[in-house]
């Protein structure tokens, strides 16, 4: 597995997608920052709080940009072996198909972790530059915890995206799929059903914003079931699929 992970990392050397993902991960902190600059210009006396900046950025990352960005990264990692016609080489080495899949998921997890920490760091940096207020150890630890929990749970939700990529072997259905999910997140953001929709649950769990109508374990069961199902159908399909 170490060798597989090493080779997955090597494949990213000079890959433009890496830079693109950094730009994508910077989008949410920059959008929030620009919003605060605008507010500051209109209401100069009202200070911007670090806690608010972290919370709002995490909301955008987990419900909007992250879903799309991590979906595209998932598609890139799995689809490039088809697009660059390298899968048949790997499978005739031979690399066991499930181990190949797991190594890519591991890399995806590390990549998402890195982007999550990058987003958090960018909020901190922009906040320091712009003079946000209320920075404390508590705010730092709480916000990092929220970002990491949100990122980790978003990772769990990449398995259905992986399945769509493996099934269609094309970026377009994956992008449509993640766009539809993002629309779902937006539609349910203020509804109590957000605690049941697997892709909006990461934000619910990260911020502890459960609703009284549904017990918390509904959310945990929903996200774990969809994640495991996504992994299982991907594994079965990938193991059995002919490589043309």
């Amino acid at each position: 597995m170490v060798d597989l992970l090493y080779t997955e990392l090597l494949k990213l050397k000079r890959a433009k997608m890496f830079l693109v993902s950094i730009i994508g991960a910077a989008a949410a902190p920059l959008m929030i920052f620009i919003g605060y600059l605008d507010r500051k210009a209109k209401v100069p006396d009202e200070p911007v709080q670090f806690a608010d900046a972290f919370t709002e950025t995490n909301l955008y990352v987990v419900l909007l940009i992250g879903t799309l960005l991590y979906g595209v990264i998932t598609a890139y990692l799995f689809h490039r072996e088809y697009a660059e016609d390298t899968l048949k080489n790997l499978l005739t080495i031979p690399v066991p198909r499930i181990r190949l899949m797991v190594s890519k998921l591991l890399l995806l997890f590390l990549w998402m972790l890195m982007l999550t920490l990058f987003s958090w760091s960018l909020v901190l940096l922009l906040g320091l530059l712009a003079g946000y207020e209320g920075l404390s150890i508590g705010v730092v630890t709480d916000s990092i915890q929220q970002f990491l929990i949100g990122g980790a749970l978003l990772f769990l939700m990449t398995t259905p995206t992986m399945f769509v990529t493996l099934l269609f072997k094309n970026y377009v259905p994956t992008i449509i799929f993640t766009a539809a999910i993002t629309m779902g997140n937006v539609a349910l953001a203020n509804s109590e059903y957000r605690v049941l929709f697997p892709w909006s649950i990461p934000h619910v769990i990260a911020t502890g914003s459960f609703v009284s109508q549904y017990p918390a374990y509904y959310s945990y069961i929903s996200i774990i079931a969809v994640s495991l199902l996504g992994f299982a159908v991907s594994a079965i399909y990938f193991k059995r699929a002919d490589v043309g």
Binding site: K11, R14, D85, T86, K88, N89, T92, I93, P94, V243
Partner: protein
């Protein structure tokens, strides 16, 4: 001679369409086996089944005397392959691409990469990214990747596809040297007759998923260089006489009274006498040669090859 590849009744169906139909293939140790057929004949499908990339609908595959089922991992480690065009990570150099295979195959010897690149003449392209390689360079790199771990069997699917004549010659030289110097058994598929003719010891001819013939090149050349040609007044009656009186089945009615007979060479006198006795007018009788290309076209029932 022991058998390196043996397939029995190997079949791959897609619905009602049989891409490969009851294939019995035998590749002996140390041979260069030319797997010849038109585009769409089923060569790549067969090779993909041999490499475990697609699952046969029915039939068995034995590699090195062991069934591929259950031993795929061990058996594939003894094989190097190129399936159609070689795919590479274009953002990496040749060495980095080979490094991926080396790590995953457990090839830890640092010199292995340099050695493989040197064999294919790419050892000086240290900085160039594979995305900037020509097709010929990529095919050579594909061979370097296939031989990196010193396989006993090399399976090359159309390795000269898309190459210019110089590139084709270079790849051919490379394949010949691997067989001669490294004693590898090589299965090379091609739709180009001249390529197979110049490389192979044994030839398997595939058409519409079926193996029409498996024969040594020497035997093929010997058998198909000569035939008797008759020009008669009624070719259908002549054909009937050939079958009934001489038991000849290996002949061809070419129309306009012309017949080609591929067996019973040397009996043209007897044939001529019987034709005349049965009232046929014989206006031409000749011993002629057939090119290998003519033979293949005849074998596959028309169309073109190469």
């Amino acid at each position: 001679m022991s058998t390196v590849i043996k397939t029995t009744g190997l079949t791959k169906s897609y619905g009602d369409y049989k891409a490969v139909d009851s294939l019995d293939l035998n590749v002996g140790l140390g041979q260069i086996y030319g797997f010849l057929g038109q585009n769409g004949a089923g060569k790549t499908t067969t090779i993909r089944m041999l490499l475990g990339l697609i699952k046969p609908t029915s039939g068995d595959i034995e590699l090195f005397g062991d069934s591929l089922r259950g031993k795929q991992k061990e058996l594939l480690k003894r094989i190097g392959s190129i399936v159609e065009f070689s795919g590479f990570y274009e953002n990496l150099t040749a060495r980095e691409n080979l490094m991926i295979n080396a790590r995953l195959m457990g090839v830890h010897k640092a010199s292995a990469l340099s050695e493989a690149l040197e064999i294919v003449g790419l050892h000086q392209e240290t900085k160039k990214l594979v995305g900037n390689y020509s097709l010929g360079m990529k095919q050579r790199l594909g061979i370097a990747r296939a031989i990196l771990h010193h396989p006993e069997l090399l399976i090359l699917d159309e390795p000269t596809n898309g190459l210019d004549p110089v590139g084709i010659k270079e790849i051919r030289r490379l394949i010949r040297s691997l067989a001669d110097e490294r004693k590898m058994t090589i299965l090379i598929s091609s739709h180009i007759l001249s390529e197979v003719e110049q490389l192979a010891d044994q030839v398997g001819i595939l058409h519409q998923g079926r193996l029409l013939e498996e024969i040594s090149l020497a035997e093929l050349m010997k058998r198909n260089r000569t035939y008797m040609e008759f020009q008669v007044s009624n070719e259908n009656k002549a054909a009937l006489l050939l079958e009934q009186q001489f038991g000849i089945a290996d002949y061809e009615v070419r129309g306009d009274g012309s017949l080609r007979i591929y067996s019973h060479l040397g009996q043209q006198g007897n044939l001529n006498r019987v034709f005349v006795q049965e009232g046929l007018e014989v206006t031409k009788m000749a011993i002629s040669g057939e090119t290998l290309e003519d033979y293949f076209v005849r074998l596959i029932g028309g169309g073109t090859i190469g």
